[in-house]
């Protein structure tokens, strides 16, 4: 089964995974470990597409266990982490901007297993000081921006930071606070790549809210978007009003934020909470979800994608295709379907991520530290391309 190559990498307990956003040549993922007792690390997973080899480099992250990690879209060496810090019997999750030391690439990846010898340390650029606002849930970079603006979600606060002086200084440019009954707390957020980067969507409890960053005010609110907690969000990269969300009700829902009463579509394929949902960056019909039922599901949501729906593949091109099965399918428009369910994980999958460099490649990370890299099935890839 050539088109479903998968590569395993073992890390320790980990939740945080991101693709290196600014890297467009190498297929590279960053994983942050979670350990309370030992120095935490950032694992840099490089996938060599030609040789099918995984190279792993390790950078020390001695500030604390990493809950969230995010790479700068402008500078591939810069990244943010959310890490928990224990002080005076109090656990607080902080956020900081880091720079990878320039020599990491030459240094450690030749002997990945021996990374304990002399792991290099991340260089701290600045803290996103949040002592006044409580634990940070996540940090979001401005999509396709110049790496100067980030948003952090801390408890019920939303803070927009300006990074200055090569990201060594962070100042809050504006902020908003979610008011309401009870203890409100942001669980997830996503900066919309549309509308000139002026919109943000956040999740708290069962609601999804949209924000306008210019006025820092709420523009829409989908109450009870999910039956239970909303775990993750993602914007459709090609359709500006479309948004996917997932949560503890095992569902993945698709929203048109102009019509928030009903979801456009709803998937119920997972058998436990869905922790992560990601649109493919270039082909928005491809959707990746990771769940604590230890499964990763790749779905093909043609009907709500930006691709022309039901476009027929030419027969001539199909006849070149080796697989006759595809020929039959190609004659009728593609239906929304599950492309594949990946069951390599044995523990809850908390993060899934598409590669920034290769749109047909994705990684998933489970709690037991297993990172699996998979490809979109080749047959499907050709059908989308041709």
């Amino acid at each position: 089964f050539v088109n479903k190559l998968q590569y395993l990498a073992r890390i320790d307990r980990a939740r945080a995974l991101t693709a290196q956003t600014a890297e467009t040549d190498a297929i590279r993922f960053l994983v942050g470990t979670q350990s309370l007792k030992f120095d935490n690390q950032i694992h840099i997973i490089d996938f060599d597409d030609e040789n099918n080899v995984i190279n792993k480099s390790v950078l020390l992250h001695d500030a604390g266990e990493i809950w969230h990690i995010s790479g700068s879209p402008a500078d591939k060496a810069v990244l943010t982490t959310c890490y928990s810090k224990t002080s005076e019997s109090r656990v607080l999750t902080c956020a900081a901007v880091w720079r990878m030391p320039p020599e990491w690439e030459s240094g450690s990846h030749e002997s990945p297993d021996d990374s304990s010898n002399n792991p290099q340390t991340l260089e701290l650029l600045c803290h996103l000081d949040n002592t006044a606002h409580g634990s940070v849930a996540c940090v979001l970079w401005e999509p396709m921006g110049d790496g100067k603006r980030v948003i952090s979600l801390a408890e019920n606060h939303m803070l927009l930071w300006d990074l200055q002086e090569s990201s060594t200084k962070a100042t809050i440019s504006s902020s908003a606070t979610l008011e309401g009954k009870g203890q409100l707390k942001f669980t997830a957020g996503k900066w919309s790549p549309h509308h000139n980067n002026t919109q943000l969507a956040t999740a708290n409890d069962t609601a999804i809210r949209g924000w306008d960053l210019r006025s820092m005010s709420q523009i829409y609110c989908i109450e009870n978007a999910h039956g239970q907690l909303v775990r993750d969000l993602d914007f459709n990269p090609n359709k500006q009003y479309y948004l996917a969300s997932c949560g503890d009700d095992c569902k993945v829902k698709f929203w048109d934020v102009r019509h928030i009463n009903e979801p456009v579509k709803c998937l119920e394929e997972h058998s436990h909470w869905v922790w992560s949902v990601r649109y493919n960056h270039s082909h928005d019909q491809l959707l990746l979800t990771g769940s604590s039922d230890s499964r990763v599901i790749l779905s093909n949501m043609v009907s709500i994608s930006s691709e022309p729906f039901g476009h027929l593949v030419d027969d001539d091109e199909l006849s070149d295709n080796e697989e006759s099965q595809q020929e039959d399918k190609g004659k009728e428009p593609l239906q929304d379907s599950i492309i594949a369910t990946y069951e390599e994980h044995e523990d809850s999958v908390y993060a899934v991520e598409w590669s920034a460099a290769d749109p047909w490649l994705f990684a998933s990370l489970s709690y037991d530290g297993r990172l699996v890299i998979n490809r979109v099935p080749r047959a499907l890839k050709y059908r989308i391309l041709l």
Binding site: R10, I11, D12, R13, S35, L36, K37, F38, D39, Q41, V58, S84, T86, S89, R90, V91, D113, D114, S115, S116, P119, N224, H226, G227, Q228, D249, C250, S271, H272, W273, S292, D293, S294, E343, E346, D347, S348, Y367, D368, G369
Partner: protein, 823 residues
Amino acid sequence: MSSATTPPDSDPSQRRRVHSMLKHYYGLNEEGKVTEQAESLDPCDINGPHFDPEVYLNKLRMECSLGELMDHESCMVKQIRSLDSDMQTLVYENYNKFISATDTIRKMKNDFKKMEDEMDCLSANMAAITEFSAHISGTLQDQHAQITKLSGVHTLLRKLQFLFELPARLNKCLELQAYAQAVSAHRRARCVLQQYSHMPSFRGIQDDCHVIMEQLAQQLRQKFRDGGSSAKDLSECVELLLQLDEPAEELCDKFLSHAQSRFEADLQGLEAELKDSPVTDTGGGLVQKTNPGSNPVSPSSSSTTNPFLSPTAGTDILEFIDRGCNEFVSSLCLVIASYQELFINRPQEGELASKNIPEMANGKLHVFVDTLAARYFSLVERRIQEEKGVSDNSLLVRALDRFHRRLQAISKLLPGSAVPSQGTEIVVRAARERIKQYLSALQTFYHDSLTDVRQALAAPRQSAGGASVSGGGATSKDATPSLPELLTSLSNFILNQLKSVLASVHLFTAKDITFSNKPYFKGEFCSQGVREGLVVSFIKFICQSSRQYCESAGDRGGSTPPALLLLLSRLCLDYETSTISYILTLTDEQFLVQHHTPVTPVTALCAEAREAAQKLLNHYVKVQGLIISQMLRKSVETRDWVNTIEPRNVRAVMKRVVEDTTSIDVQVGLLYEEGVRKAHSSDSSKRTFSVYSSSRQQIRYAPSYTPSAPMDTNLLSNIHKLFSERIDIFSPVEFNKVSVLTGIIKISLKTFLECVRLRTFGRYGLQQIQVDCHYLQMYLWRFVSDENLVHFLLDEIVGSAAHRCLDPSPMEQSVIEVICERG
């Protein structure tokens, strides 16, 4: 010849023989042709025609002796002699006869001469008589002509007298109202008067008659116009008027318009009954809606009867139809009959025949009847539509039957009329409407029953909120009905209601109902109407509304009580296993359904019911799992696990979890069978301790963790996972208690696990989790199908907690046990 040897003394026989021989000789033979032929061939036969004396003689000479020849010769001689004498006798006899004949002829000659003279005398006498007669008639001729003339004059005079007396007579008739006589008298005189109208005297008479007859016609018309006159009078009137050359068309119109006015009154009477109906209608609607439902156990007492009350304030439909039949239809029949008598079936005579009255009259009648019937039908239809309440179907059926039956009379009277078929249409429409009403009544009933059940379920929760905590599920049985009772009562109510509805609908096809043999009621009504439209639709409705409970209440898990989900699930399952096929068989038997059109098969319905049952049960598991999950999640999320104190007790929330699980177990056990569980050791609760035994914990939490060797720490749990099957948390459950409970516990523990992984623990936090998990272990294993599942999940929870612990020093197993047993 043999007789030659016999002596000819025997007289009669011999004589006959001689006669016959003579006859023979003269060619008179009528017998013995065969013998003659046989004999003829023999030349030695002495009697045969081919007798050859030479041959005969030679033969005798050769064959016989001398003595014999002598004998033969003497015999021959004797015969010849006797023949001679016979001959002589015959000749003599004939001669005598000839002599006497000659005498007779001579005597006749004399007699005829005498008779000729007498005839001559007679003819002379006859000629004399003829002459005299001619003479007499010539003398009488004149007088006869005179008499004839006189008698002619007499007749003429009598006629004239009749004519002269006619005006007076007509007047008298007019006075006496003997119109018939007057008309017949006038008719007789009319032609004569017409003919001689150029003479002044006759003209006067004619004018007088005209005036009188005009008067008479006026009176007749008046009478005709008057409402009061009876049908017989009317027909007489019409007849007379026709004879008076009144135009038939006008008469028809008048007759019909006269009848129309009477029907108008009838129809208005009927409409008046309709007028007050809107009031009763809303009243009926209100009655239907009210649903006290005070007694949850017996919804029949309240809600069964209520939707089936009919608007009783107005006259009921039977009365209405009766009135319509008796007044309108019967008088319509009467009018049709008398009209036909008058205008159509009357013998055509004279010039009337040429006008082709029947055809014209028939056309008029059809138009008339059609318009009236259309109005009547619209009234009836309005009335039928008012029959919203489905109280007593027999009343409606009887009404429709009567309605239909009475219309048959019209079809007999008016063979070509569309009225009866329109009537049948109305009946069919009414039947269709009724089925729809029954379906909606059943649906209302089902909803009401469910509301009652819901209330019954809600009641104990409010009154005995504490009971469920202490008594665990088996809530006070005396006060409220248990789930199985509710289930049986609910399903019985539904079934009974369905049966009674079927019985009501069945009335439409009863044998004594006239319209039951119409093709619609034989075929489509049974299969498409009752089976598909009523029974199948209702079953589908049950499944559908059950599924809606899963969807509408789904996300927040709030509105539908879980017990109701469980109960509905069991109800649907029962339907799948038995009830559906029972109901359909019952229907098919009752209605002898012949399926001309494809119908929904039982299997499809069963599959639908099973799907609904499965969905409901899955949803039940989800809802119950969610309730427990929320408790666990809150308890993990809201606590500060780093700074907690040393555990002394099992946390209250764990006890609550076990209690709730127990009560769910009881609840499910009431409706579902136990189910299969994997064999487990008797000391299950003990066995699990080893999982957390300190030696193993030591391995797990030993400071062996190095970044270079991350595998070791997870080795154990990974190996465990390798060999255990993947656990699907929100997976479909089977229809038994163990499976349901397993589902709920899986959901709860998985939530617990995920929540623990998001927290950071201090030393005592970990120990508290250890205690809690041990407590859960002690109680939860018994509910699930595979206790290893509970072991695995709890193990995972403690493992995760240990990993998330800042200072992982686990509690001694013995201390855990003491704490758990104390709590």
